[in-house]
Amino acid sequence: MPFQLSDEQLLTRSAVREFAEAEILPIAAEIDRDHRAPLESIPKMGAQGLLGMIIPEKYEGAGSDYLSYMIAIEEVSRVCGTHGVMIEAHTSLASYPILHFGTEEQKMEFLPDLATGRKMGAFGLTEPEAGSDAANLKTTAVRDGDDWVINGQKIFITGGGYAKTFVVFARTNPDVPSHKGISAFIIDRDTPGFTIGENEQKLGIRGSSTTPLMFSDVRVPNSRMLGQPGQGFEVAMNTLDGGRTGIAAQALGIAQGAFEAALKYAQERVQFGKPLTTKQAIQRMLADMSTDLAAGRLLVYEAADLEDRGEEYAIPAARAKLFCGPMASRVTTQAIQIHGGNGYIMEYPVERMFRDARITEIYEGTNEVQRLVIAKSLLR
């Protein structure tokens, strides 16, 4: 498949790069060191249109295509993996399901605030006993008059610390097979009975807030159900199909940042009287890294382009994520190797990138889950 980016896609790349280098790069190391969620970036990213790229203009979004959105995640992640996932989880996991499964009233009520970043969104699916096996979730929603009463707990929710609008999945019918009894709800942070726990301390993407959510008799009106009763699992899986491309783009960007840092270091560092770039062992790593990046980029862009053209993209998205997650781990570890001892200390960015890359093999479906998804499509 030949790939020619449009003018708008090319300009999205240069505009986001300019923004990311001016506004995000200067705080990337600090928020990692201090495990600090960069709240000051939210209005800035909102003003730039980065928090509503795939949301139509009608709902105050930018109305960009999906491929431009992937390029934006890639460029932001190139300087900071935390900001990459902040945009991704907000857009792909919280705004997207409202756009695709919401009623017109729900879209008008929630999307403008999300698309502009006036309110951030989060996606609550995972539970202590339901990770890869998400259909096994235990949180319940019981009908009471015109309301649903929600009880249960979620864990590892990206953006929990700062999000206002949560898309949450709960079991509404215990009497049908597990994945058929789940429904999705839009829940406001300030709803009585809804509490948000402490941030997890993490290996990487340390500035992204990851928290548990606790629901104790949380009353949600029926008008806040997203999709039909029992459609929740479908909402979640469809959302994650697109999210996978987003995480693949995050991985790609982190790897790209590490590759550029390694190339520059190799050009400047002199050992045995010559720059590292003169050593074949280093050249070989650089060649492998650039090949990995080129392959990953094609997989991500292909999945996004299929989505833009309204074609089937779930399997290409799973392939992109399955390739790019491990690819980012590979490339960032090679970037450390090229930096030698300096690669292992915090003064250089590659150890942060190495830690940030690792999560892309786990969240929004582990490598193993992507393989299950791909194999199932081959064998059906």
Binding site: D7, E8, L10, L11, T12, S14, A15, V16, E18, F19, A22, A47, Q48, G49, L50, M53, E57, A62, G63, S64, S68, A72
Partner: protein
């Protein structure tokens, strides 16, 4: 009333490489709206918004200048419309020919109160364009402009000079060359990128720019050379001795005074 910004679609200095001989190689640098001209567009945007004027970009250059990606890149920075002349014959046009083309555009647009330019062209750094353009238009020109405000019959500008801040008021139309740090250009937003393709682009032919006058173009042929380096190396094994040696060398060079310091 229109406010005009002259801009160049020029190689990105961030992507240029410096060879062992000190020569800057732009051959592999992708073109962008030159970074100093982005400053002019940003200042122009603020001025145009404050005065409800139209903000028009003008550019004369080689074929790349007129490509859709180039005009959209300029428009995404906040221009309302652009007028470009792009032709192989204009690719390496000297300052005079380029300024002549820009002047022809300003005259064609009409009702122009201010022409803004960047500090200098990033690629050659000659800083000749604004005065030549102003000369052709018969307008005054001010360089090193930090701030601009529009008055009832002209503009008031602040210039940051070595001697201090100078305030100058000009009546009638004027060419203003902005200081490179007059403002920090803002990256285009996602909506700006998408809106760019919907804004008007006027393309002029070489013939529309008028016949080329005899070129009085200055071409710089010599390599840029700074003051010769002395190549003094101070051994830092003993910091105290190294500091004393550095102070001695600076005094000998007349950089710091030889008396009054505390030894």
């Amino acid at each position: 009333m229109k406010i005009v910004v002259a801009y160049a679609w020029a190689p990105d200095p961030q992507e240029a490489s410096v060879g062992a001989d000190g020569q800057v190689d732009f051959s592999r640098a992708k073109p962008v709206v030159s970074e100093y001209d982005a400053v002019a567009i940003e200042v122009g945007r603020q001025l145009a918004t404050a005065t409800s004027s139209a903000l028009v970009g003008i550019s004369v250059g080689g074929p790349a200048t007129g490509t859709p990606v180039a005009t959209k890149a300029a428009l995404s920075r906040g221009l309302d419309e652009v007028m470009v002349a792009s032709d192989a014959a204009l690719a390496d046009a000297g300052t005079t020919r380029t300024a002549q083309g820009l002047a022809a555009m300003v005259q064609r647009l009409g009702d122009v109160s201010v022409v803004l330019t960047g500090d200098s062209s990033v690629d050659s750094g000659s800083r000749m364009m604004p005065p030549v353009l102003a000369g052709l238009l018969g307008w005054p020109v001010l360089s090193d402009v930090q701030k601009v405000s529009v008055t009832a019959d002209g503009v008031t500008v602040e210039r940051l000079l070595r001697e201090g801040v100078q305030q100058v008021s000009v009546t009638g139309p004027v060419v203003l060359a902005l200081a490179s740090d007059a403002t920090q250009p803002k990256a285009p937003g996602m909506k700006d990128v998408l809106a760019a393709g919907k804004k008007p682009v006027t393309k002029l032919e070489v013939a529309d720019l008028g016949p080329a006058v005899a070129e009085g173009t200055v071409v710089s042929t010599a390599k840029l050379t700074g003051p010769a380096r002395k190549g003094i190396v101070i051994n830092t094994a003993d910091p105290a001795a190294a500091a004393a040696e550095l102070v001695g060398a600076l005094r000998a060079a007349g950089v710091i005074g030889s008396t009054g310091g505390q030894a």
